[in-house]
Structure formats: structure tokens, C-alpha cells
Subunit: 340 residues, 2 copies
């Protein structure tokens, strides 16, 4: 047996009109409920709708309306807890404002594909589009933004995308993390990071920490890594050369570093302190015990909805962008520096 749906083509407003014995227009008016239809006809149409199991095609509707209550969400990747969390928060807030959210993921395709995806979102007459995909080419962003209200989230807009509103985590929030480890007496602190191309946002915080630590003479090293690297050699090298604390670009990296340290027999946080960044559940779970900086995902989502809503309603919008700070999460992977 093929479970293919039966030929029964979804009924259209035309079918409804025919069965009710009225014109398409009357049927349409009855469906919309804006009034202007006689009670008898209204009833007839109502019955026809019921009988035919009619549901108006929202998409066709948008076609004439030139707009809709749908927001498009373009994500870099769905798998990552960070983007998943952001998307979830966004859907909630947007839902509260009466928007439906349609998501599409980039998966770091070639930029041409990103463009097509974004246009697909625009084609369905979305009221606006929110982009949470830092790797999309700025030109693509600008092209789409010229057609549809667009907001960037989780990434800086300036200077690559002048005039495009954005919400992003404030790199300066990393100060709390630095204060935390220096407060523990660490004086030889290393940074682990992906390349700027790999993740501009994560790089922003790393660059900021690098500058801060460097200025204070506390930076032992900045090691560039890749997502799938085995960190054992890196961690060992750092440990041997006197680094007592490692700050990572994100929580994954921190977990990888922790696992590497375990393999090397380095005790945490006795001999080495390690901190992550992002603090997205479940990374911030007490049972994991990771010290990290929790990025304000909910706040970012809220701000994004507010921005896009303002843009849609033609309100004044801060083009300078919004930077939000998170909060320090103290776990069991950082502790007092030990003299060696």
C-alpha cells in the first residue's frame, strides 16, 4: 500500500462558492468575516466550508495581501545549542506578538544558496526576516534588506552592514570572566579560539579578552583551533609552559579541553582552570559544573523581535545596534591558581 494522500485535492474558495451558490467574492467576504454579507448567504457559506473542510490557503492570501504575519528566521545551523536556543526564544516572543515563525538553516552553504534561501523567505511575503547566521555575505544581507525589513541577531552589523539593525552579545561582558580568574590569582592565562571566519561573534569576544589580558600582561598565549581538533597537545603544551587558566571561545571547546586535561591526568581546577563561553543549556547545568559566561539569549531574542516589529511598523529604529550583556556562571572548573 502506498500511503500517498488520496487524490482529493484540497478544496478552494471556488468550490465553497459553487456549493453555497454564491460568487467567489461573497464567499471570500464571508470567510474573512469583515461583514457585508447577508445572514442567509453567510450561513450557506459557513455550511459549505464545513462540508468541504475548507481552509484558506494562507500563502495565496499573502500573495495579494503583499504581507503576512509571518517572520522568517535564517539560522546558521540548527544543531548548535546556541542557535537552537536562540530560535526557541525567538519563536516564543514572536508568537506572543502574533507572529508565526518560519525557519530556514544555512548550514554554511555557499553564499549563493544563502541568497536563495533568504529570497524564498521573502517570497512568501514574510513581514520581516531575522538573520542569525554570521557567515552570510554582507552583500547578500544588504540585497535582502533592501526588499524586506531585516534584523541581524547574534552578530555585529557595523561596519560590514551599515544601516542594518542588529542585536549582539557585548564582547565586554567577558570582563566578568577575566575578573573571575584573575581574582583567583591566575597570572598566566591562555585563550582558545576558532578563526574569525569560522565565527566572527566568538572572535569578537576573544579579541576583546586578548586585548584586555595583553594590556595587563596576563596573556600567555592565544591558540587558534578548529572545531574537531584534538586538544590534548594544545592543553599539554600550555600546561607545561606555565599557563594556569584557559579561557575558551565557547562551551564546546571548554568541554574538549576538559576531556583533554582528564586524559593528560591534569586535575581540574587544582592544576588548571578552564572556562567556557555561552552558557546555553545544558552547558550551564549544575551537574556539568562548567564555569562560563551566559550569553543573554532570551534578551537577544526579545530585542530582535522588538527591532523587527518596529521596522515593520515603520517606527524609529536604533541603527547603531544593541549590545547585551550576560552573566557569569561559576562552576567547578575554575579555582585558585596553584604555584608550580
Amino acid at each position: 500500500m502506498t500511503a500517498m494522500p488520496p487524490g482529493r485535492r484540497p478544496s478552494t474558495i471556488r468550490d465553497v462558492a459553487a456549493l453555497a451558490g454564491v460568487s467567489k467574492s461573497t464567499a471570500s467576504r464571508a470567510v474573512l468575516g469583515h461583514g457585508g454579507v447577508s445572514p442567509e448567504n453567510l450561513e450557506k457559506v459557513r455550511r459549505a466550508i464545513e462540508q468541504l473542510d475548507f481552509v484558506p490557503n494562507q500563502i495565496a492570501r499573502n500573495l495579494t495581501a503583499r504581507s503576512s504575519a509571518i517572520l522568517g528566521l535564517f539560522l546558521r545551523q540548527t544543531r548548535s545549542p546556541f542557535y537552537a536556543s536562540l530560535a526557541g526564544a525567538f519563536e516564543e516572543t514572536a508568537g506572543d506578538r502574533g507572529y508565526e515563525v518560519m525557519s530556514l538553516a544555512s548550514g554554511d552553504q555557499p553564499d549563493e544558496a544563502n541568497y536563495r534561501s533568504l529570497m524564498l523567505l521573502a517570497d512568501m511575503r514574510t513581514a520581516g526576516i531575522v538573520v542569525a547566521a554570521p557567515t552570510v555575505d554582507p552583500r547578500t544581507i544588504r540585497q535582502v534588506a533592501s526588499r524586506v525589513p531585516l534584523v541581524l541577531v547574534g552578530q555585529m552589523g557595523q561596519p560590514a552592514n551599515p544601516g542594518v539593525p542588529f542585536v549582539a552579545p557585548d564582547p565586554r561582558e567577558a570582563q566578568a570572566l577575566i575578573d573571575h580568574v584573575t581574582g583567583y590569582g591566575h597570572r598566566s592565562i591562555a585563550l582558545l579560539a576558532y578563526s574569525p571566519e569560522q565565527s566572527p561573534t566568538q572572535w569578537a569576544r576573544i579579541a576583546w579578552m586578548r586585548d584586555e589580558l595583553d594590556r595587563a600582561g596576563l596573556l600567555s598565549d592565544l591558540v587558534m583551533i578548529n572545531p574537531d581538533d584534538n586538544l590534548a597537545p594544545v592543553v599539554e603544551q600550555l600546561y607545561r609552559t606555565g599557563t594556569t587558566a584557559i579561557l575558551c571561545n565557547n562551551d564546546w571547546t571548554a568541554l574538549d579541553a576538559l576531556a583533554a586535561a582528564a586524559h593528560l591526568g591534569i586535575s581540574i581546577p587544582g592544576e588548571l582552570s578552564i572556562a567556557g563561553y555561552d552558557g546555553i543549556p545544558p552547558f550551564d547545568h549544575e551537574a556539568v559544573g562548567l564555569t562560563t559566561n551566559r550569553v543573554p539569549v532570551n534578551g537577544m531574542a526579545d530585542a530582535a523581535v522588538r527591532l523587527i516589529d518596529d521596522l515593520i511598523h515603520d517606527n524609529h529604529v536604533e541603527t547603531g545596534g544593541i549590545l547585551l550583556r550576560g552573566e557569569l556562571v561559576v562552576g567547578r572548573t575554575t579555582g585558585p591558581a596553584q604555584a608550580r
Copy 2:
């Protein structure tokens, strides 16, 4: 300044035709590239397209084509690592087969909203819809399935949804977990679970484990909990009444139980073994060290794509559904049972 997009309405095929000095159809044919257009006209159209920055409206296209290369994905929630992971894997595999994936999340709304969302997906002439949202009402599923090829993933189809193909984790895979703890000598094993309504799939595995353990006389208790419960009282009670191992409905619960045990001063796995279920990253990370059963998310996604693809192309489809097994992940939260 309002960053609203300039009035410049996206240009249509009509504009292109006008500028090129040909008819809409010729322009359309040129765009489609199916041939049948003179080189001169082709060139003229090409130039007009360039000049107007024309991009065909994919949605309008689908409207006439009555179909598209878009798959709809309806998720229970975006935030959960499980669904995020599933979605990510699905997008990848679907992408390999040339599909674009549009996602919509349920967020456990009233079922009427689910229906509307599903219809929205159908309205855009998606080639098929994949539902990963166990809480959607079976009637809604059937209604939508009668209009568009539909596959269930991460949930059983039978008997609530007869005839609707599905892919789900095989509850019997839990055997490995049971063998693991009994192999460690545990003879008083408890289960922690959400209610069946909360999560039918998780309940399926719990019910299966309950039966198995009960038959072997090893079940100490089955405690019903809620996602946000504080588990300290539960864990303490179990521990005091002689339970030496706790198997949880999912990994979150396991982390919560671990945190509770830590608060109570119960050492893991010395005095108590705890295991999770799902094994989705980052729960399965070595640094977390959780013993769990890794559900085959990638395999499920692959199978889902295969099923929907078959359905779309009218191939024979196993209506019985597909059950997939995962693999045991041995961490540091389980160990030998200790005599007390």
C-alpha cells in the same frame, strides 16, 4: 532614520518582459532555460534580468506548479537538543537530495494552532511534511496526511495514526542499558519518567524497561516527575530505600538527578549509579561523563528523508514503520553496585 527597505518593489517577470520588449511568456521561458527562445531574445531578457536584479518568486512559482522541492518540518520545540539535533540531521540529508527544508515549531500550542501551522506548510506546496512533534493530535495528523505526503519521526505511528509511515527509536534498545547496570550487580533499580502525555516516546522506553525489570524482579520504583521538578527529595527517598541505580527517561533528568545527588552528598557512582537516555551532543560528551543510550538521530533523519521521498515519488512505503536502535554510551555515572 528608519532602516525600512526603500519602496523599490522587487521587480517581477512582467518588468523584465517589458524592459526586454518581449512577452511575459518569452521572458518566463528564458528564465526557466528550457530552451525555445531565440538567442537575441534570450540575451535581451538576460540583460533585463541583470539590470532589474530580478529573482523569480519561488512561492508564486509553486502556486502554479502545484508542487516544489521544499520539505516542511514540524518540530515540537526548537530548544531541545534532541529536536535540534534531529532537525539538523534532517536538513543535511534532505539537502543532499535536493530539498530545501522549512521548519515550524509547535511549542506545544493548542492543537488548533498546530493544525494551522501544518496547513501553512502545506499551503506553500511543500513536496511533503515531516512531523517530529509527538503531542500533535492524531486527527490533525490524519487530516494533513490526507492532503500532503506526511511522515512521523521520533514517534510511533501505530495505532493512533494507522497508515502514516513513521521512524522511531526502538524502545527495546533500552536492553543494553539494563544489561549494563545489572552487569554491575545492581538488583534494585528505579526509573524516573515524565508522564506519557508529556512525552509518549520517552514513555515507551520507560514502559519497556519497567516491564523488563519487573519481570526480573529488579524494579524498585517508577517515579513520575515533571521537567522542572527538584529531584532531591526523590533521589533521597530512593537512595534511602535501597535503590542503587536510577535509569532516567532522558539526559536532562539524569543531570538533574546527578545534581540532586551532589547536594545530598551521595557519591556517584560509588553509592548510586545514574544513567540518562538520548545521548544527544553535548550530553554524550566525554567531559560530562554521563552513561546514556545514544538514540540514532542521524539514522532516524535519514530514514525519514527516505520515507518521505518514497511517498512523494509514489514508491512502495513500509507502513509498518521503522524502529531504529542506538548504542550504549558508558560514562562515569554508573559503576559496580555497593553493598549497603
